[in-house]
Assembly symmetry: C2
DNA sequence: CTGTTAGCGCCTTCAA
DNA sequence: TTGAAGGCGCTAACAG
């Protein structure tokens, strides 16, 4: 039952003594084709295991029904959650997803985008890497008529489409919770200073303290380069302060993991001597003996979903529209 | 600088008063074209930002330089590690990867394969879902000339290409370690009984006990459906035995997480009252206060890499060859 | 309702 | 060394 050559419209037409266009129309349920003809065509098509040659259709329609997704790393649960939703939205729209991991390497990121372009994807969803500085690729793609929507880790530019989590509301909630538990010495372990995401966190942190009339102490704000060593150094710096903080908001869960480990090794009791809340990216807190008090959830699934639907709107739109910015509120989730 | 219509070979030919065929040949460094012509063509091509239309090439060459990857879930670190290596191998070969998550749903799995087929991928890499029983899709793909290589979770059939971890060597090592630590009451929390992977584990477990002259007790072998509830039920069953085991090998890390949590809740001390080793799929053990003694590593990266290179061999081969089976040895990695 | 014609962009004989 | 012609499979404008 193996077909050496897959059946074509031509073949069906020949056998049925019809023209290829009639067959094509019949297969696509074109209204102008008689019911009987349509039936005959479909029956034979089924018999021959006919399947339209997508590559021919892509070629003709100048559309590939494919979108590209570029993100730093699939092994981050945040992104695997996001891409799952993206996949779902794409499937509904009958689109296929091509995915590439930049691994925070700008060159690799560029190569992936190049591939996506030559593959003529209809659109791109992207979360940029930590080290990406050069945004010229955006014009490259948009110049080729490929719309692009950024999500989560987005460039600090006004004229691009982006979907992000606000970072602020969660931070304010976190500080509210800390304060209501009696904490006043609240520190921030922030990410690399030049990351926009770090600037936002810092701003929110300061705003949160201000709301409670707590003075901002410079020594309570430390940075990490997000490596395990950097994370450890950051917490040690805080612990060595004369008046060490009793509560810490950390850049993300991975930072929190390293930091909490270091705290344990120092012989301090988690959730007693010192308390943590971090921006969430889904380690398996529920299995830990001493998880952080709470996490600031950023809803990767929602972000991915929204970014994808936005992209499809752009793909379907004829005109290029004004850049769209969508902001999701982050929210504190207790890990109790 | 935005091109409304991307440049084509025809366009270049028109401007240079050459024929399209000459331009095509020049761009492909065909030896029969004069050096000067080739230069002129290439220069103009660069100027016009000419890029070959892949969709046209795919169509003409009857090849898409695309491979599909189907796996249960990206959120399992095992698979994200595997797909990263697959991506790398594919990139080297200048192939693109289309990925789909089955989420252990056979219908969804089938839909993904259908999509891959209509997209005319050149080959498929696949790890089947837990609930997949019907393997007819294999003929569907191979009938269409699409080679398929299974990895990790593979069908229990002889005539397919597969790359797996052996499961046995790691289990034997695990039992060796337990025994050398003085354990004799060694239990197995296995997966669903009808999973080939469960049968293999059980066989290895029995072999391991036999090697040490330890009698196999039926009540020390329990099964879980891999849900959190099933995992908890399994360990409770073991704990309720009159002579409860002091050492347990569990189906995988996720089972171990649930199981160890239940053990803690029962007030037992991990790594004291009861010890664990599990087949690894990468939770963040290094951050845990009481990780399992060791993990049986299955090298997802290696498996993915091997499966991918195998697939490319099959794609490049003219003839259909005998099915290939590759087995990686699993190995015990201490979590000390 | 159905057929004819033409062309998407590229490559590849065949002919000059 | 170059050009002309044809075709991959499908669709769509234009005729009947």
């Amino acid at each position: 039952m193996k077909e050496s050559k897959p059946a074509t419209i031509k073949e069906i037409a020949r056998r049925l003594k019809l023209s290829p266009s009639t067959v094509s129309r019949a297969l696509n349920d074109h209204p102008s084709i008689g019911l009987v003809t349509t039936e005959r065509v479909k029956r034979l098509a089924a018999e021959l295991n006919y399947e339209p040659n997508q590559t021919a259709i892509f070629f003709k329609q100048r559309k590939t029904f494919t979108v590209g997704v570029v993100l730093p790393s699939l092994s981050e649960p945040f992104f695997s959650a996001a891409i799952s939703e993206i996949e779902n939205v794409a499937n509904e729209k009958r689109y296929t997803v091509i995915m590439g991991q930049s691994l925070d390497d700008p060159d690799r990121e560029l190569r992936i985008l190049q591939t996506l372009k030559t593959h003529r994807v209809d659109g791109v969803l992207m979360s940029i890497g930590k080290n990406t500085q050069d945004y010229r690729f955006i014009e490259l793609l948009e110049g080729a008529g490929i719309p692009i929507v950024f999500f989560d880790c987005v460039p600090d530019l006004g004229d691009v489409n982006k979907v992000v989590s606000d970072l602020e509301s969660g931070m304010l909630e976190a500080i509210d919770v800390f304060v209501s538990c009696g904490h006043h010495a609240i520190a921030l372990i922030n990410g690399p200073a030049l990351l926009p995401a770090s600037a936002e966190r810092k701003k929110a942190y300061i705003k949160g303290l201000n709301q409670h009339g707590i003075p901002v102490k410079d020594e309570y704000i430390v940075n990490t380069d997000l490596t395990p060593e950097g994370n450890e150094a950051a917490i040690l710096q805080l612990l060595s302060l004369p008046h060490r903080p009793s509560a810490v908001v950390s850049f993300n869960d991975y930072v929190a993991l390293d930091v909490m480990k270091a705290v344990r090794q120092k012989g301090l009791a988690l959730n007693q001597d010192i308390h943590f809340i971090s921006y969430a990216n889904y380690p398996l807190w529920k299995y830990m003996e001493n998880p952080p008090m709470a996490s600031i959830e950023q809803f990767p699934g929602e972000q991915g979903k929204k970014a994808a639907s936005l992209l499809f709107e752009l793909i379907d739109a004829k005109e290029r529209s004004k850049p769209v910015h969508v902001v999701f509120k982050s929210r504190l989730i207790s890990q109790g």
